[in-house]
């Protein structure tokens, strides 16, 4: 086939590149590459080149046509599709066009050392003419094998679906993870204001509840108790007594409204109460107590703080201590 083609006169050349590409098709068939024709990367090119070289090893070929061979693949396909059906599938138009051009100068090259059909064969000529006459509608993508096209479309669709599913799954996972996560509004809404009020001033809606403790109340209580002991010298026994009394009074007056408190904390207080006198858990009795204590001057307040108890404790719970 090839030999014949080459042997044809320049007249044939006018018929177009198709012929040239036809020859390439033959080549390609021989190569029998099942690879996807779309991807021709450097590696593939090399491989093809090598194969072609091997194939044509008998001939002392120059490299140019060989290269063309490789790039001409698409053309071959096109040719085939021409023959097969008129429904054109297009892949990458640009590539095809390029290839066409390339293959045009491809046929200029006449490979030496090939036997020619001196007279030519009419049947072939007719056949080719017929083929070349068939008009190919210029689609965007250029002619592609229909089967292949379907495959590509299918693959693309599949990929799309896959990606979509993946994305959705990710989104869902993220949503599940973010469940309950709420971004606060930029402004203080009424409820937040109410909560801040509760924290600062205590709860006025339920004045009898534990909410008696709030920042303001605590500060005031601290102020009262600490102010009361200012003028007194705790080292004198008289003053110490007075301090104790004052503290208790101040404390209860401030937190007195929490006397509704529950029984459970009372239990805690009761359990700590007896520790007043002898408790080994009591800080001053520990070995390192004096060494680590930075507030030595307050040593005499120890028993008292027991009675007045801590802030978190209810008022009435400690009242039974004295």
């Amino acid at each position: 086939m090839q030999t014949q083609e080459v042997g044809k006169s320049p007249k044939k050349r006018k018929v177009g590149h198709k012929k040239g590409s036809k020859t390439k098709k033959k080549l390609k068939m021989l190569q029998g590459n099942g690879e996807e024709k779309v991807r021709i990367n450097q590696k593939m090119k090399k491989l093809f080149r090598k194969r072609v070289r091997d194939y044509n090893s008998d001939d002392d070929d120059d490299s140019a046509p060989v290269i063309e061979d490789v790039s001409g693949q698409l053309n071959d396909k096109k040719e085939v599709s021409d023959g097969h059906s008129s429904d054109e599938e297009r892949e990458n138009h640009g590539d095809v066009g390029e290839e066409n051009e390339v293959s045009e100068d491809d046929e200029i090259v006449i490979q030496p050392g090939i036997t020619k059909f001196t007279e030519g064969c009419k049947a072939f000529r007719m056949a080719f003419k017929k083929i070349t006459k068939t008009s190919v509608s210029d689609d965007v993508l250029g002619p592609v094998l229909s089967a292949h096209k379907k495959l590509v479309v299918e693959k693309l669709a599949e990929e799309d679906v896959k990606r979509k599913v993946k994305g959705e799954a990710k989104k869902e996972k993220h949503l599940v993870g973010e469940k309950g996560h709420a971004k606060p509004a930029n402004f203080l809404d009424l409820y937040e204001k109410f909560l801040i009020g509760v924290a600062t001033k205590g709860d006025f809606q339920f004045p009898m509840c534990i909410a008696g403790l709030s920042v303001v109340k605590l500060f005031n209580a601290v102020n009262k108790s600490q102010n009361a002991q200012k003028g007194l010298n705790p080292s004198r026994s008289n003053d110490a007594k007075a301090i104790r009394k004052q503290r208790k009074e101040a404390f209860f007056s401030e937190l007195g409204n929490t006397s509704q408190f529950t029984r459970a904390p009372a239990k805690i207080a009761a359990s700590t109460g007896p520790a007043d006198g002898e408790g080994p858990a009591w800080a001053p009795l520990r070995d390192n107590y004096m060494l680590t204590n930075s507030m030595l001057k307050d040593w005499d307040k120890m028993p008292d703080t027991r009675v007045a108890d801590d802030f978190g404790m209810p008022a009435d719970s400690s009242s039974d201590d004295d």
């Binding site: 973010e178 309950g180 509840c209 920042v215 009591w282 307050d298 120890m302």
Partner: protein
Amino acid sequence: MARFRNKKRKDFVKPVVKKQQPSVDHITGDKIPKSFVFSRGKMPGSLRQLQMDLRKLMLPYTALKLKEKKRNNLKDYLNVAGPMGVTHFLILSKTETAPYLRVARTPQGPTLTFKVHEYSLAVDIAQSQLRPRCPQDLFKNAPLIVLSGFGTGEQHLKLTTIMFQNIFPAIDINTVKLSSCQRIVLLNYNKETKLIDFRHYSIRLQPVGVSRRIRKFVQNHQVPDLRRLQDVSDFVTKAGYGSESEMDDEAATVSLPSDLGRVNRASTKSAVKLQEIGPRMTLQLIKIEEGLCSGGVIFSEYGNGDEKSKQDAREENNEEEEEEEMEET
């Protein structure tokens, strides 16, 4: 050889001076509660952040950089907790429906299980604010805790209050320094919805009756802009805009026993301002267990039938065990 190596290594080890946190308050002699905040199971990023926020909230008596591994189980934490004097666990977990927060006392329990209906991270809250505030020593002292609305007399609520009151060190009113009261944790129980609002605020004190300009001047030490004023006295006498509108009501003012910083003097009254620092949570008490994440169910939000059946199951188990024991003997 090995022995030499060991010796050498010993030489290299720099003696780490550990600043041991006191386990007992020096002044009151009370045991200082300490806590671990960790999570069980795989957590999404936002919840991990929430965990970090909770740790910061629990500062200073918590393990801020507690490393968890997948294979750590509750017993591991419990084993560490004993020697370190950790008294409370805050355990975050997550199901498909919602995240959960368990607050447990170690080593015996009880365990309160809260469903986290909604939460916002500290970052979110800072983002929502125009001027987020974070003074340096904000986390140096334990927060105060304010419990509000829990006084409905129900047993499980009482338990909740006790639990949360004991989670932070107690304050001794006679000796506490108000400058160490920087933060406050508010738990507000909503009777109707049965939800607990968990908020975390920073406390700020401002002198009352001083115009904003002067306050800023004292605070910032910057030369004020007097271009538009006719006289220097205008700076003092002219009231700045906006300052009066945000003037607070009587109830939010306190007088201090001692000076607090440059601005808040003992002689003047100060206003208490709270600014949220997050995290923010809306909790629902779901379950109270006797033990540490185990044991009998004292309270269950979702009906008593469930509880009963569980108890029955437990009894059955016990019986079975007893039988087994009998058989063994």
